[in-house]
């Protein structure tokens, strides 16, 4: 019995070694993917004095990759939107996690370090949330900046609206103006999505599992922005009747998107890569044909909720090899699979895995499929967050892993949840303080120009973790 078990392990190690998954294990340190350094621009300049900042500012220069620098240079005004977006992501993340042990703290940014600290090096849930929220925030903030008129290079996207024959002969921007006159411009939201893909996803080539995880979470963030878009219509035909109707898309408040992402964080899926490709494009609605034409409905823009998955049995077979690898690399992982595959089925699975990977290289980097770590779970959808390894407890300070611990955090004495003092302080106990807070209250307004308020003193009790 023991001998056969060892044999199985050896065989699996052999097979998986041959199937090329070793980068996950070997490049753990740098395996976070290289697309995360740009977060640093949040701290480079305060958003209100960003406008005069040049893109060649050395601090910005060091945080951006070459392609990102080019995008910033080619799209004047986009930098301000990116800084706003990054700050939006941080404040939203901190809002959503204010009651958890990990509170989305950012470190004093310095060159070459990650803004969110070393937690990003681990492929845990928190990391997946950071990726998704930053990608969503960039999408949201670019689309907003286009609507505000602060980015001048937002596309008009008239391609589907105009077939003006004379415009085709005109060169570049002249044709753009003609087209605006002829058929108007589309919504700005499509530009936000395209830009976010270009900017946020640089450096994530989807070659290893971690990069795939990042790509998936980035896409999930954008998918949430898209899913929260609402169509609005206005009738303006004869006497205001609906013989002529115009429709457009409206972006939701980012707080709503943050709420949804937080819900997905709570139900995030632990995954491993599988071999079959995703059959459908991840964001088919973002082709210029569908992105926000004025009377075109939302149909084209809504993501397909169901992603086509590979054959069930094939997945069952292949799931276990990266799983074994993860278990090897993290000895503290206690999850074991009850059903070990029979030895003779493995070579076949490994072969299929190689085929799948070979095909995958030819395809777009968004064409991949992640399968749940626990095969009984549902495979992750396009809006689900995915992670690779369980989160640390975040209780104690651990600088090696970039964990600050919960010492000195405020907690809620009456709550039984994570924000309750019992869980938040990890059983270390807490301190009770009474403070007097002075607030403005009972304000009266006068139009114009006058606001009178009283100052109210309220006593508040604050509990702090030891």
């Amino acid at each position: 019995m023991d001998i056969s078990y060892i044999f199985v392990i050896c065989l699996m190690a052999l097979c998986s070694g041959g199937s090329g998954f070793s980068p996950v294990e070997g490049k753990q340190k740098s395996g976070r993917g290289r697309g995360s350094m740009w977060w640093g621009i949040a701290k480079v300049g305060e958003p209100n004095n960003i406008t005069p900042i040049m893109y060649m500012d050395p601090a910005i220069h060091s945080t951006l990759r070459r392609k990102q620098r080019r995008l910033v240079r080619d799209n004047p005004g986009v930098l301000g939107a990116l800084v706003k977006g990054a700050n939006l992501a941080i404040s939203e993340c901190q809002h959503q996690f204010r009651n958890r042990r990990w509170n989305c703290s950012t470190r004093n940014f310095s060159r070459g370090k990650n803004l969110f600290g070393k937690i990003v090096d681990r492929g845990c849930r928190e990391t997946s949330f950071i990726y998704a929220i930053t990608s969503a925030a960039v999408t949201h903030s670019i689309a907003r900046a286009c609507s505000e008129g602060t980015i001048e290079s937002c596309t008009c996207d008239y391609s589907h609206q105009s077939r003006s024959p004379q415009a085709n002969h005109q060169a570049g921007s002249v044709a753009g103006v003609r087209d605006w006159e002829w058929g108007g411009c589309s919504d700005n939201i499509g530009f936000g999505f395209k830009f976010s893909r270009e900017f946020v996803d640089t450096g994530e080539r989807g070659r290893n599992l971690r990069e795939k995880m990042n790509l998936h979470n980035n896409e999930a963030g954008r998918a949430h922005v898209q899913a929260e878009m609402r169509q609005e219509c206005k009738c303006h035909g004869m006497s205001g009747s609906c013989t002529v109707k115009t429709c457009w898309m409206r972006l939701a408040n980012f707080r709503v998107i943050g709420d949804n992402l937080k819900a997905r964080f709570d139900g995030a899926t632990r995954v491993q890569v599988s071999n079959s490709l995703r059959a459908s494009n991840v964001l088919p609605g973002l082709s210029p044909n569908a992105a926000g034409s004025s009377s075109v409905g939302s149909n084209g823009l809504i993501l397909p909720q169901s992603v086509v998955y590979g054959e069930e049995e094939e997945r069952m077979l292949n799931d276990h090899m990266p799983d074994m690898l993860l278990e090897n690399s993290h000895p503290n992982n206690k999850i074991h699979h009850p059903n070990m595959p029979s030895p003779n089925s493995l070579p076949q699975g490994g072969q299929r895995a190689r085929n799948g990977r070979r095909q995958g290289r030819k395809h777009n980097r968004y064409h991949f499929q992640l399968n749940p770590h626990n095969p009984e779970h549902k495979p992750p959808g396009s809006k689900d967050l995915v992670y690779l390894e369980p989160s640390p407890s975040f209780c104690e300070k651990n600088l090696r892993h970039g964990i600050l611990g919960t010492h000195g955090r405020q907690c809620n004495e009456t709550s039984l949840g994570v924000d309750g003092c019992g869980l938040m302080c990890c059983g270390r106990g807490y301190r009770r303080d009474e403070v007097v807070v002075v607030e403005r209250c009972a304000c009266t307004f006068h139009w114009c120009c006058e606001v009178k308020c009283k100052l109210c003193r309220t006593k508040k009790v604050i509990y702090t973790c030891l």
Binding site: S147, Q161, G184, C242
Partner: protein, 568 residues
């Protein structure tokens, strides 16, 4: 006395005419589908925040703008969030249209005709204050300033177009309930309607004055995003539309002149149906008149109202025509004298008149008042909305009564025709002799029915077209190369269809000048058919001496034929 062209035209000529008209119809549809863009475009502008200059607050010429030299320094939203008072009474929401795209400052063109602005409001309450239901009918007070600037003007040369302090009622839903703040997202509110898009750039300054003694805007915690959607007619659509009008206009005018001359060549005064036809042609000509060309040079804010009135007159005329058309074929000969609108149809037409007047009053209340105050909308106050709804319900009711009545009349026409046909065999021998041509009756009835069918088809296609235009949402892919813009195609198709329909009516109901007995045709195939019609004509000449047939206004031999039977 001769019949109409419809009765005398050979089947072959009729089919050629119908085929060519159908071809024109397809052309109209394809013109809209292949060349025109969507009928309307929009620009969605997110409000920028500027700090109020309290010293110049009451100066309506003071305008803040967010782009171009001398623009205000935008207030960042985080700054507002940090401020304990959320910068109440210190912010101006600024919207500058259109937005720059592809590194260029776009400007509105006069081809874009009109501009309609709607506003979407998001605001947040402090959750700690009190737990609230999603608010309904909250009164929002807005100080609106609309300004314009032309191409070539300096960046600060904004001129005030209109200023007003307006009230709007908001219906909101909860978007997010948080521990610190509850967010509400509200239904869009109409903000302004400009009948003339005469200038290149437009600027909107919105202020939400907070005032405790006057209870102004106190229910709104603080404003989050304000989104303005400015809808304009697409320039390409205007061009195609005007092209269509310009082409159709001379044709309809020409056929009207031809028709009227033919009527006057007869030795009688024109019949009621002929008057109706010429009125209908006149209404259509008024609709076709490409007045929009003037708006390229002159500022015409009344264009929206005028186009409503033009369409209204046309539809009123068309509806009246159908009633009179059915009535004239009712074959009831109670009044021996010539029928006029006053003598016979005033009861029938009262539904049309009531409907049209109520729609007209509604339109004057909405778009007429907008000429004076572009921010006005009758829908914004609960009372105004009720009044507007009353007028619309009244119009709807009269439309329903009208259609019921029309259906009843058409049913009666068909029943009368059927009765006459069955009563033929029981006639006296002497009369029977004159009805040897009973066989020609089916062909006349067929043509009458043919036109009824065409009318029904046109009406059904119009309704279906508008419904499809609503459902189809945008373009439809024929194959990889050909895309059909369905919304525009339906609009041009329906417009062309009514033109063609009236064009056909004017041709087919024009009096025929054919002299039956002396008629000669080179066309072999139509010979027999024409002969039958010819004998019908001769029969009619004979019967025109009958005492009952003293009505000289008869234009249809079918009508006269059946009337004679009724006399029996």
């Amino acid at each position: 006395m001769s019949g109409t062209i419809l009765e005398n035209l050979s089947g072959r000529k009729l089919s050629i005419l119908v085929a060519s008209l159908l071809l024109c119809q397809v052309l109209c549809f394809l013109l809209g589908g292949l060349y025109a863009p969507l009928p309307a475009g929009h620009v969605t502008v997110l409000g920028s925040l500027c700090r109020e200059d309290h010293t110049r607050q009451n100066d309506t010429g003071f305008l803040l703008y967010s782009r171009g030299a001398g623009a205000c320094t935008p207030v960042v939203r985080e700054e507002v969030e940090r401020d304990p008072m959320k910068m109440a009474n210190e912010l101006v929401h600024v919207f500058q249209m259109p937005l720059p795209r592809e590194q260029r400052d776009l400007d509105y063109s006069r081809w874009q005709q009109n501009l309609i602005g709607v506003l979407q409001v998001e605001f947040g309450y402090d959750s700690s204050s009190e737990l609230r239901e999603p608010p309904r009918e909250l009164q929002l007070t807005i100080d609106i300033r609309l300004a314009y600037r032309n191409k070539g003007d300096p960046a600060n040369a904004w001129k005030l177009y209109a200023h007003g302090v307006e009230h709007r009622y908001l219906d909101c839903v909860t978007a997010h309930v948080g521990s610190t703040e509850t967010l509400y997202s509200c239904d869009m509110i109409p903000l302004f309607e400009l009948g003339a898009l005469h200038h290149s750039f437009y600027l909107l300054n919105l202020r939400f004055p907070l005032d405790t003694p006057r209870q102004m805007n106190l229910q709104f915690g603080h404003m989050h995003d304000l989104t303005l959607t400015a809808i304009h007619q697409n320039g390409g659509f205007t061009q195609i539309w005007l092209l269509l009008k310009t082409v159709l206009f001379p044709f309809v005018v020409g056929i009207m002149i031809w028709f009227w001359r033919r009527v006057h060549l007869l030795q009688r005064s024109p019949a009621l149906l002929e008057y109706m036809l010429i009125y209908l042609g006149g209404a259509l000509t008024f609709l076709n008149l490409p007045l929009e060309y003037l708006s390229l040079a002159v500022e015409m804010p009344y264009m929206l109202l005028l186009s409503d009135i033009r369409q209204g007159i046309f539809y009123a005329m068309l509806l009246s025509f159908w009633l009179v058309f059915a009535g004239e074929h009712m074959l009831i000969q109670d009044a021996p004298n010539k029928s006029t609108i006053r003598s016979r149809y005033w009861k029938h037409l009262s539904a049309v008149v009531v409907g049209c007047i109520s729609l007209f009053v509604f339109d004057i209340c909405e778009r007429g008042v907008q000429l004076r105050n572009p921010f006005y909308s009758i829908w914004t106050t609960p009372l105004g909305a009720k009044v507007a709804m009353t007028f619309i319900v009244l119009a709807g009711l009269s439309a329903a009564i009208y259609f019921l009545f029309l259906c009843y009349m058409i049913w009666k026409v068909f029943r009368n025709i059927g009765d006459k046909r069955t009563s033929l065999p029981s006639m006296s021998q002497a009369r029977r002799l004159h009805y040897e041509e009973v066989q020609l009756l089916p062909s006349l009835i067929y043509r009458f029915k043919f036109l009824m069918l065409a009318t029904l088809l046109c009406a059904a296609l119009t309704v279906a077209g508008f419904i499809m235009g609503q459902m189809a949402e945008g373009q439809w892919q024929w194959n990889e190369n050909v895309e059909i813009q369905l919304t525009s195609a339906f609009l041009t198709g329906v417009y062309g269809m009514w033109n063609i329909y009236i064009f056909a009516l004017l041709i087919l109901y024009a009096p025929s000048h054919k002299q039956w007995p002396t008629m000669h045709h080179s066309d072999e195939t139509t010979q027999s058919n024409e002969n039958i019609v010819a004998s019908a004509g001769s029969e009619e000449i004979e019967f025109s001496h009958l005492p009952s047939d003293s009505n000289p206004s008869e234009i249809s031999s079918l009508t006269s034929f059946t009337r004679k039977v009724a006399f029996d």
